[in-house]
């Protein structure tokens, strides 16, 4: 089970879907969802500058295109990995499967890419199986289609 998860996605309905899917799969007991990358950026900046570091989530799922945000999911991952000390399992959860975007995400340090669809649970289940690899940074980048 993952200790805590942060979801950054502009779609409220997906927050509910993700929360229920995580609960049914016993993925985590602590899930927080944010609507914009700016909010997430602010939190990570705060955790990095002021602490406490244990408030940081263990795993972060970021949407690719976050409407109403100053920057997209890939830029958020770049900031978290490069500017705010990394230290989390982080990846993209998006309905897009654009190879160029996938390569970009990989380049900024995303560890996985989960494609959103009606059947999200099997993908999350597969992700959960690989999770320990992501945690100790031994698992290679993977796209869950």
């Amino acid at each position: 089970m993952i200790d805590s998860i942060l979801l950054v996605d502009d779609e409220d309905l997906f927050h509910l879907v993700f929360e229920d899917a995580c609960s049914l799969l016993d993925m985590t007991l602590s899930l927080e969802a944010l609507n914009s990358s700016d909010e997430a950026d602010k939190l990570f900046k705060q955790w990095f500058e002021e602490g406490p570091i244990d408030e940081r989530p263990e795993c972060v799922f970021v949407d690719l295109n976050i409407i109403g945000s100053s920057f997209d999911g890939i830029e958020l991952i770049r900031k978290i990995n490069n500017d705010y000390g990394n230290g989390v399992v982080i990846g993209i959860i998006s309905s897009s499967d654009d190879n160029q975007e996938i390569d970009k995400a990989k380049a900024v340090g995303a560890q996985f890419w989960i494609i959103k669809s009606d059947e999200i649970e099997p993908r999350l289940e597969d992700f959960l199986k690989d999770y320990s690899g992501y945690e100790n940074k031994t698992a290679p980048f993977k796209v869950y289609r």
């Binding site: 309905l13 997906f14 509910l16 879907v17 229920d20 899917a21 609960s23 049914l24 007991l29 009606d118």
Partner: protein, 182 residues
């Protein structure tokens, strides 16, 4: 209501009687080594929570899928409206061109008709003029009586001149009116 004085058993009995069950991840936090009756209650809570979540997940997924379909339909509708607008614009343009062509054709037919009338009228005027003049000249040269022919010639010439001016006037009027409307 459950009060602080109630024992766990009493609290459970009251909760069950009211069909009130714990929900959410809190249930998962409860230790597995609970007294049997509490454990049974917690298990029922978990079961109900799972059922409710599964149901909610299915409903939300359906709504999400419908939203997606609606969004796609909206995009298609927008494209169709744009296409329709373009087709309408093209049709209006073609109609205007057709009206212009028709107008031009009507004018051309009108001018052709006027030209024909003028030609025929001029041929008749010149023909009658030439014929009467020839007759009059022949009579004069043959030293015949030209009283009637002379009067007829001058009358006819007068009438023909008046008519030719009338025709020219009509043509000019028609031409002017057509140009003004066009």
């Amino acid at each position: 209501m459950i009060s602080a004085k109630d024992t766990v058993e009493e609290a459970l009995r009251k909760a069950k009687a009211k069909k009130v069950y714990l929900e959410g991840n809190f249930v998962k936090l409860l230790a597995k080594s609970l007294p049997t009756d509490v454990k049974a209650y917690v298990e029922e809570c978990k079961e109900r929570d799972t059922k409710a979540r599964r149901k909610r997940l299915e409903v939300n997924k359906r709504v999400q899928s419908q939203n997606k379909e609606l969004e796609e339909a909206a995009v298609i509708k927008e494209a169709l409206v744009l296409e329709l607008q373009n087709a309408l614009d093209d049709a209006e343009k073609l109609r205007d061109e057709a009206v212009e062509d028709l107008d031009l054709m009507q004018k051309r037919t009108q001018f052709e008709l006027i030209g024909l009338i003028v030609k025929v009228a001029l041929i008749i005027i010149v023909g009658v003029g030439v014929t009467t003049t020839l007759l009059y000249t022949t009579a004069m040269l043959a030293d015949k009586d030209t009283t009637i022919l002379g009067n007829a010639w001058s009358n006819l010439f007068g009438i023909l001149l008046t008519n030719s001016f009338s025709i020219i006037g009509t043509i000019m009027g028609v031409k002017y009116a057509t140009e003004k409307n066009g």
